[in-house]
Amino acid sequence: MAERSFANEVQELRLGAGAEFRGEGILAVTKGLLQSGVAYVGGYQGAPISHLMDVLGDASEILAELDVYFENSASEATAAAMLAASVHYPLRGAVTFKSTVGTNVASDALANLASGGVLGGALIIVGEDYGEGSSIMQERSHAFAMKSQMWLLDPRPNLTAIVDFVEKGFELSEASSTPVMLELRLRACHLHGSFIAKDNKRPSFTLREAIENPQRDSSRVVLPPASFIHEQEKIKDRWPAAVRFIQENELNEFIAEKREKVGIILQGGLFNTVNRALELLGLSDPYGNSEIPLYVLNVTYPIIDQEVLRFCDGKDAVLLIEEGQPDYIEQNLNTVLRRAGDLTLLHGKDLLPVAGEYTPAAVTKGINAFLQKYLPARVNLDNLPTVVLDDNDPRSPFAPRISPELVQSRPPGFCTGCPERPIFAALKLAERELGPHIVSADIGCHLFSINAPFNIGATTMGYGLGSASGSAFNAKDADKRTIAFMGDGGFWHNGLTSGVGNAVFNENDQLLVVVDNAYSAATGGQDLLSSRAENPSRSTNHPIERAVRGIGVKWARTMTDTFKVAEMRDLFKEALTTQEKGPKVIVAQSECTLNRERREKPARAKKIKEGKRVVRELYGVDPETCTGDHSCIRISGCPSLTIGPNPDPLRQDPIAVVLETCVGCGLCGENAHAAALCPSFYRTEVIYNPSWWDKSKLWVRHRYIGWLQKGIEKQRLGIDAV
């Protein structure tokens, strides 16, 4: 079960023609797929497209009614390969993943798919994780479209446009026998908006019909000589067909085309930002009535030469607004203009930032610079938006108004009660005794270990590649071992073979820690092969330790409670010093707290209400004995363990305090034990609906303790003013 339930959203998927769909961009895409008669959907979860997968995961009933097959693919490569179903059959299929990371993984299958081409529409929905909020390297999916010749759609961030482009994408794919990529930027995926729905469509041809009537055409298989023919087909047949379709369907837009002798060419995904910039410069309104000619590329690959020349015709200069680098479109446009002998000047990354997200600030500044150069009469210098002013101008929004040291960065970290935190606390303690090690990190929540307070982990080479990225450190004469981390998500994605199998085969002595929190937690808590939950439509409960033993690991241990810090520390020490050869694998298991709390909190509340005995645990720090050294925080970093004013009249450093957000995971106490920290931590157990036995114990204690406390208080006698 995912972190979030989509029960309400699933109902929106049923909306019929004319009804208004309201919700998130990525859910609109899901509805668009059903309206397009899609026959199968696959993908690999990851922000910003996780919700597409999650909502379909919760929509099995609707999918069954419509004869749509949905699977959680093992990896993006699996998802891309799934599109093979559209090669010989008129089946519409869609897959989705985070990009560029997912596209990297999928690219082998995508290249093969694009070579032979498709009969049924094949749509690849990529969540472009670029700019603020991104968690990956900053690259463009554009390159993949160009290298494999797949068409790239980059529609305006508007639910109506996005949904229309899902349908148009399938049609374009079928018209040109080419897979089509639909690129959605981070914020477009999480955009809240609405569109008018259409009826869902059952696929005109079903998977069952395909299975029962197998077809084959060896000219679609990537093997010489067909592969050479494919390349020719791409240029001679598929490209012209795509250009025709795009032009006939007017997928790109011309706005105020002939109004001025200058113009702006932009990626569709940037339309809202560009329009806002023009509004601020007094040249458009909130309805997109631009006074400056715009050519909106809702299809960013291929570039339609005729359309470019049409837009540039009679213009002195155009500004291209293309986010990210390299400047593929700018290079392309220059070629188009040069070949045609068109003298229109093309500006782009000379006036706009070469690298980085095209924020409203960047775009407004760029357009302002362009207009001041070519259309100064239309720029009202007295009424410029403050964002274009120099940073030192006192009216600028960036004029220094706060000293930088007052605002510290706040990177993401482990949640309160996260079961991964004790793993790194234990490793820190083990390293206190054994010294520092080379640690290869992986992708997943566990990567937060690289930040304070743990500062563990030196590289991250990709999902599931934690073990592999330590493979070079295989010097048999070294006195130390290397350590690698991997999450359960990365493990099943590819880590079992790329990491564990590789280490067994090459006799690497490394210690691999597989963080098994029972879900693909970082992407939203989806189930995996090793999830402990019973999932009615998926096969779970396949233990990781069994898998690694099956592949040849001899030293493997499963730690079923990561919160036992001292045991965890001792296990690390053993793994790092044992004489056993070959990779050592520790499977560190504890359920993701976000998921656990989502399930248990309501259950607990219900039990209390029903009058059943429930014990709630929370932690605290005694202010009298805390000396304010914060060593407990330095091996935890839990958001609920923080600092507060010191009530001691003589002490000045803040003391440790536990906030009410504490979920009672117990790490504070375990750390205090394992690291022999300080006696200030205590656990409070609140017993709801105590039993008669609880009550009688309480009666005795109350009297006994109350009596002894009088003796204790004698020590204070005569000290305090009365």
């Binding site: 105020a256 809202n272 329009n275 806002r276 403050t386 706040r410 004995t625 803040p654 303790i705």
Partner: protein, 530 residues
């Protein structure tokens, strides 16, 4: 023909700019819920609204910005074109900035989302401390006042209150409180009732959310009422840094014996007659602390020790005497098992724990301690000879390891657990004869002797050496590391004295010792100084 009919190029008369709102929160604080509420109230009341955020792993506990735009619809025409709203805030163009915490309001300013010409800033004054603030070995907190001052200068209107506390008091979360404050600010043209209607139509915790909304609404109104300058008494502090109660400080100067019980009257009178005014408050607290820790004689010993410094103190405002009083009192009441057991068993503590747990009548509260006594901590408490003997005994060491290496959990609220701690607390009379007591007393005298000597020749250096005591704190390894760092600096003192500005050297070494736990920075600093 395209089906992509975005209805552009239809001139719209009387178009206005959208209302823009940026919400800066940390992942998991309910910023998304707040943004959804704002969108909902706008859509229900004749506006187009759009809300965007970035989600995913980048959000886990880190800073997140939610962005909302609202634009009034033109009449009731159902076929009117949809506006083009921005998915990202433009610096300098934000009407309402909401910060769920004080440092986040600083971030809003830094990112240009809060400008004096336009923005109404609604900020909660509570602090969610950043990692560097929390992990500092001493006090690494950013001063809240600096953030408040910057916000005052950077916003058109600045509405602030501890919305987090208000939310907790109402059994709800901060998003509901902030929604109330947003409604009260009236930058959005929606009434209080329209906003409450949205909460009511939601799913869970409606009553608590409405209560928090109400608290936030009222606090925001109160925050903007003109402030009547308070001329009598102290102004309430804006931030949570408490500091000593000024009234108590005043009484300590004029009449210290009114702050203590009969046992300490003589000591208090001595404080008034023999010590400078500035040191009296700290000394009063010091004698209470030492008397509680051991006995009245021990409190007198504190005064004797500090008097030695006070006599030769020539620093401004007697700052050396003040700090010598503070650190001597703290060192004399070093944390041992007896002290810990005493505080763990007190009635005030039992009451505090119960209040913290927010348990209601009929619910039972139990307390469990996490103790990990080191062998030294046990032998330290025993009479010197016995302590030494056991410390050398292999059998004893093995026994202690067996019992304690995994830590001990004691339920203080049980008969057995309380008895154990009670007996330990009552060992107080034995302390004077213990191994550690002797060691600590000679360490204190050695350190104070140096401070006293230096006070004559180099008062600033004496002051810096005095402050070094703050390095010794904590328990177990933390205490051992602190003591090691302290001694390393003391050992370096004879060399430092020969330099031109020894006081700054000691000050730097002290900061280096507080820079990291391993002592690496101090080692480097010592290398550099040589």
């Amino acid at each position: 023909m395209t089906t992509v009919d975005l209805k552009v190029n239809t001139p719209i008369p009387g178009v206005t700019r959208p209302i823009t709102m940026a919400i800066l929160a940390m992942g998991g604080e309910g910023g998304g819920v707040l943004a959804d509420w704002v969108v909902e109230v706008a859509e229900r009341n004749g506006y187009f609204a759009q809300n965007t955020s970035v989600a995913g792993v980048a959000q886990r506990t880190g800073t997140t910005v939610y962005y909302v735009e609202m634009l009034r619809k033109i009449g009731d025409d159902p076929n009117q074109p949809e506006p083009i709203l921005s998915t990202m805030p433009t610096p300098g163009e934000v009407d309402i900035a909401v910060a769920s915490e004080l440092m986040e309001s600083g971030r809003a300013i830094q990112r240009g989302f809060c400008t004096p010409d336009r923005t109404t800033l609604i900020a909660s004054t509570n602090r969610v401390y950043s990692m560097p603030e929390r992990t500092a070995m001493g006090d690494g907190r950013i001063e809240s006042q600096g953030l408040i001052d910057a916000a005052k200068q950077s916003a058109k209107r600045f509405i602030r209150a501890d919305f987090n506390k208000l939310a907790l008091d109402n059994g709800s979360v901060i998003s509901a409180c902030l929604f109330g404050a947003i409604a009260a600010a009236r930058v959005m043209p929606f009434s209080r009732e329209q906003c409450e209607e949205v909460i009511r139509s939601g799913g869970k915790g409606i009553e608590a959310s409405l209560a928090a909304f109400d608290a936030g609404f009222n606090a925001a109104l109160a925050a903007e009422r003109p402030v009547v300058e308070v001329t009598i008494g102290a102004r309430p502090p804006e931030t949570e840094d408490l500091g000593p109660d000024p009234a108590a400080v005043e009484r300590a100067i004029k009449d210290p014996s009114s702050l203590v019980g009969p046992k300490l009257t003589d000591c208090a009178l001595r404080i008034k007659s023999a010590f400078p005014e500035q040191a009296r408050y700290v000394l009063v607290e010091g004698i209470k602390r030492t008397a509680e820790y051991q006995d009245v004689e021990y409190a007198e010993q504190l005064l004797n020790r500090v008097a030695r410094i006070s006599r030769v103190d020539s620093t401004q405002d007697s700052k050396l005497t003040v700090e010598a009083a503070r650190y001597t009192a703290l060192w004399m009441t070093y944390e041992d098992t007896i002290r810990v057991a005493f505080h763990k068993t007190r009635k005030v503590r039992f009451d505090r724990v119960r209040a913290e747990s927010r348990a209601t009548e009929g619910e039972m509260v139990q307390v469990r301690e996490f103790l990990h006594p080191q062998i030294e901590e046990i032998t330290d408490t025993l009479p010197t000879k016995l302590g030494r003997l056991l410390l050398g005994s292999k059998l004893f060491q093995w026994l202690v390891f067996k019992i304690t290496h995994k830590g001990i959990k004691i339920q203080t609220s049980s008969v057995w657990g309380f008895t154990v701690l009670y007996v330990l607390a009552r060992l107080r009379p034995l302390r004077r004869r213990s191994l550690r007591f002797g060691i600590e007393q000679s360490r204190i005298d050695h350190w104070l002797g140096r401070v006293a000597d230096l006070a004559v020749t180099n008062p600033e250096l004496a002051y810096q050496v005095c402050l070094c005591q703050q390095l010794i704190k904590g328990y177990g390894d933390t205490h051992a590391n602190g003591l090691r760092n302290f001694e390393a600096i003391m050992d370096y003192l004879p060399i430092a004295i020969k330099a031109s500005d020894p006081a700054s050297i000691i000050k730097e070494l002290r900061s280096a010792a507080l820079a990291d736990e391993s002592g690496g920075a101090l080692t480097l600093a010592l290398e550099r100084s040589k």
